[in-house]
Symmetry: C2
Subunit: 254 residues, 2 copies
DNA sequence: ATCTAAATCTCGTCG
DNA sequence: CGACGAGGTTTAGAT
């Protein structure tokens, strides 16, 4: 077979027979393409939890990395899915005689943990196979990491005289975002959040401060500072209850 | 217009002109259908954070509820997205003279928070419009809620003589999963997790126990029990450090 | 609309 | 492989 210009990048079947759909899906998976199917199906999942979904029209996407996604017409999250690294198989189950209906079964399995997703199509309205190229990486700004860099560049943003000594400093309770000391030489633990925080972030900071106080084995109290754009009321109360502090800072915008 | 049997459920164009793609996408969105496009595009996002993605072949899905998802050939998560409730627009930008290239721009915006996603196609390899029906709900078992029901049905699973008194009991630090008392009449706070837990779950439990001890204003200590299939080493250490307990229980399997 | 916590969270990173 | 924490988390429920 010769492909003069570029290889086939897209192949679509409308209202295919189940056998034609099976063949196209199987060859798409074998070619490491991105395969989609839209049609009436039911879905069973068993693994970390277990779920069942009765028949309806859904959009199914199989990626060459072993991901499978089942989308309804609502919501950002797939109604069922399987993560990258799974094995896909597609199989046609013939109805017995003329009475039972045939079905197309798309199955995805993995181990560690043992998980299985089974999509059973009674009708396939459309199958597509897409072969593309994508070499690029997403560039993202506004993360917690950006906020950390901002503080390390200009420690006075936190408070005058603050000196960062380490990032990701290990404690028995986990790694501290920024560890440093204030102008009086007191140890400071900083927990960073890129957005408004609730009680969980306060607990996290408290855990680190506790651990560090035990670890330093000194009576000199360790200061704990939560750095985020803002806090909820309850989080603010929890901060005071435990002698922790808050400084309002956002990740850089650009 | 008459549709004798059933209305058009799927409409697909392979390698359409940008104008034909625009027309099909616009009418699909207007018809409240699920619309997909595959082709070479770049993607810009600005909102809670900001991101940029150079040109590559990707799969874009617009749902009638205002969701938009941009998928590459890898990963379970879309590389870019917009949540339900957004406004979609599709627009053709003509190149100037014959020198500049035309482009198809798919844009999704929302407020609270202000967010914008822009997908700029230089080539569309396939556009599909799907109209289906899906009335069913997912049935899921193995959740934290299932674990709670299991304990409420058979409190002795936790320990002999335990009596549940309330679920979602309010404290200044948040709502406790199960509140009850042991055979000696001591107050018990239970935090449930459907899977193996780490330090965060311990902190959460500690926060509730702390708050309840203050709230009850008594010196009688409140017992805190973490109920989960298992704990990590560090979490186990944190539990002992704070006088908290652990009971191994899983959500029911069926 | 905001708060709070669960989730088959997913994803990267590090030991 | 597990552990740990970030995430434009998303989603559901309560206030």
């Amino acid at each position: 077979m010769t492909r003069s210009e570029d290889e086939t990048r897209v192949d679509t079947l409308e209202r295919p027979s189940l056998e034609a759909a099976r063949e196209t899906i199987a060859s798409g998976i074998a070619r490491e393409a991105l395969v989609t199917a839209f049609g009436r199906c039911r879905v069973e999942y068993d693994g970390r939890a277990a779920s069942s979904l009765a028949a309806g029209d859904r959009h199914v996407m199989c990626k060459p990395d072993g991901t499978i996604l089942v989308h309804t017409d609502e919501g950002q999250k797939p109604v069922n899915w399987q993560p990258p690294g799974c094995e896909h198989t597609v199989e046609l189950v013939e109805g017995e005689a003329d009475t039972t209906e045939s079905a197309l079964i798309l199955e995805s399995t993995r181990s560690t943990p043992e998980e299985r997703l089974r999509v059973t199509f009674e009708t396939v309205l459309c199958v597509s196979v897409f072969a593309g190229t994508d070499d690029t990486d997403l560039s993202l700004v506004g993360t917690e990491e950006d906020l950390r860099e901002r503080i390390l560049e200009t420690p006075d943003l936190l408070e005058s005289g603050f000196t960062p000594l380490a990032t990701e400093r290990a404690t028995p309770a986990g790694a501290v975002d920024i560890y440093g000391e204030d102008s009086a030489g007191r140890a400071v633990v900083i927990e960073l959040k890129r957005r408004r925080v609730g009680p969980d972030a306060v607990s996290q900071l408290r855990r680190y401060v506790d651990a560090l106080e035990r670890d330093l084995h000194a009576d000199a109290a360790v200061r704990g500072i939560l750095v985020a754009p803002s806090v909820t009321d309850r989080a603010s109360r929890l901060l005071s209850d435990h002698g922790l502090e808050f400084v309002s800072l956002e990740p850089p915008a650009e």
